[in-house]
């Protein structure tokens, strides 16, 4: 989308007026080519003003283009390959269709059919972060559950560095003040007993206004709605990827059970009466914590139960 010549133009006209003639000379291209490139950059959201016969960059684009986010990345392999779309159906669908190297990040400014669990929809207003990470852990499928907990914990850590305190609704939703701010969908390929690839889709409502998420305002919120502040999505993305890489490396090198402790420390509704809904089945009980595999542990009328799938919700008073 943006090549080295474009980058050079942005560099040269950053905060100072440079004439088209001078740019053409510096870059060894014609003045028409300069004009065409400036037009392209404007279309990508760069605010470039014309002054006399020169140009000046007043503000950068809001699009999370590779050249915009790359300077902030602190990771060694996650995001080394970065694929950006202005709009796509779903980053997970795209990331799963192709063969990508370990650590590839696919990010979209907008998703036209963002997906959640079992065909549910993820609303992507364009003001949040919607991306997928391709990971190739080659771990026994029995460890995938623990592995999957890396992601909510990393987002929680990244948010906490921005001064936001959040909780995890088992297994991997992020909640602030009782509403969902981030969701994760992991799709993995298992052959025999080994999981070779996992595509981790992450959606976070960042600068969304109440209006942006109107259709889901009862259950969802955004970082902006909760804090009144606007967040730099480049910094947030970079911090999340960094936290994920740290936790992922420590997971692969053996520190697997720390994840369970960390989850339990940051989990929503521990000690409260909850309902777990899975398809048509409902299980009620007191949420005790999680078991050694990352499943949820409920104290029910029929004793203690360990459950691995379903939707957790708080039991309302009128249900009793």
């Amino acid at each position: 989308m943006i090549d080295s010549v474009d980058k050079k133009i942005l560099e040269l006209i950053d905060k100072r007026v440079v004439s088209g003639e001078k740019l053409a000379e510096e870059l060894g291209i014609t003045r028409t080519a300069v004009w065409k490139r400036v037009k392209k950059l404007r279309n990508l959201g760069y605010n470039i003003e014309s002054r006399g016969n020169g140009y000046i960059l007043k503000s950068r684009t809001e699009l999370l283009l590779e050249n915009e986010v790359r300077p902030f990345f602190k990771t060694s392999f996650i995001g080394k390959r970065y694929v950006f779309f202005k709009e796509i159906d779903s980053t997970n669908t795209y990331a799963r269709k192709s063969v990508f190297e370990d650590g590839t990040v696919v990010l979209a400014q907008k998703q036209s059919s963002g997906r959640g669990r079992r065909g549910r929809k993820w609303v992507s207003s364009g003001k949040g972060l919607y991306f997928s990470i391709v990971l190739k852990p080659s771990i026994p499928v029995s460890e995938v559950l623990k592995f999957s907990l890396i992601f909510p914990l990393s987002i929680l850590d990244a948010l906490s560095r921005s001064g936001i305190s959040s909780k995890i609704k088992w297994p991997n939703d992020i909640y602030i003040n009782g509403k969902k701010v981030s969701g994760i969908l992991i799709e993995s390929d298992t052959e025999g007993e080994i999981t070779n690839r996992a595509v981790v889709g992450i959606g976070i409502n960042v600068n969304d206004s109440l209006e942006d998420i109107k259709e889901i305002e009862d259950i969802a919120t955004s970082l902006h709605i909760e804090t009144g502040k606007y967040f730099d999505r480049k910094l947030l993305l970079s911090e999340i990827l960094f936290q994920i890489e740290q936790r992922y490396i420590s997971f692969l090198t053996g520190k697997k059970d720390e994840i369970l402790k960390d989850l339990e420390k940051n989990m929503l509704w521990i000690g409260e009466d909850v309902v777990l809904t899975d398809g048509n089945s409902k299980t009620e009980g007191k949420l005790i914590g999680i078991n050694n595999y990352g499943g949820i542990r409920l104290k029910t009328e029929n004793g203690i139960l360990d459950i691995f799938s379903g939707d957790l919700s708080l039991r309302k008073v009128d249900d009793v």
Partner: protein, 150 residues
């Protein structure tokens, strides 16, 4: 080589349907075979060096395998979770009974902790039976499908 031991083994396997015993001592490898009647369909299992005692004890009950298990390849759940036959509700199932599948083809999803684990067939063949209903919880090692290898 201890001849007594050899005779003892021969005595022990006489009358059983053990066809072959092979074992190894520091002096070498010994294989004892006996004719046990018509050759049935025997799967070419690579028998490693067998401990004689174990072989005698274990071989008798293994003959009581069900016909289905022998003939068909079983896809088992590699984890505890919920079994799904389709990628999302309303979508067509990955496979139906009677479908031909190839190795590496996705046959179902087991969900746990919101991780959608796509389970691939590890053989080429035909789906003979799907043993679990869509949306049902499954245990580790639970049989999900029978595939007739081709």
């Amino acid at each position: 080589m201890d001849k007594e031991l050899l005779f003892e083994i021969i005595e022990k396997i006489k009358g059983t349907n053990i066809e072959e015993v092979e074992f190894e001592t520091e002096n070498g490898r010994i294989r004892i075979k006996q004719f046990i009647g018509e050759r049935k369909q025997i799967t070419p299992v690579q028998q490693p060096v067998v401990e004689i005692k174990e072989e005698i004890v274990s071989s008798v009950p293994t003959k009581v395998e069900t016909k289905e298990e022998k003939k068909y390849h079983v896809i088992k759940s590699p984890l505890v979770g919920t079994f799904y036959r389709a990628p999302s509700p309303g979508a067509p199932p990955f496979v139906e009974e009677g479908d031909i599948v190839s190795k590496g083809q996705v046959v179902c999803i087991i969900e746990a902790l919101k991780v959608m684990n796509e389970i691939e067939s590890d053989v080429d063949g035909r789906v003979v039976k799907i043993l679990v209903e869509n949306g049902q919880p499954v245990e580790y090692g639970q049989e999900l499908m029978y595939i007739e290898p081709r």
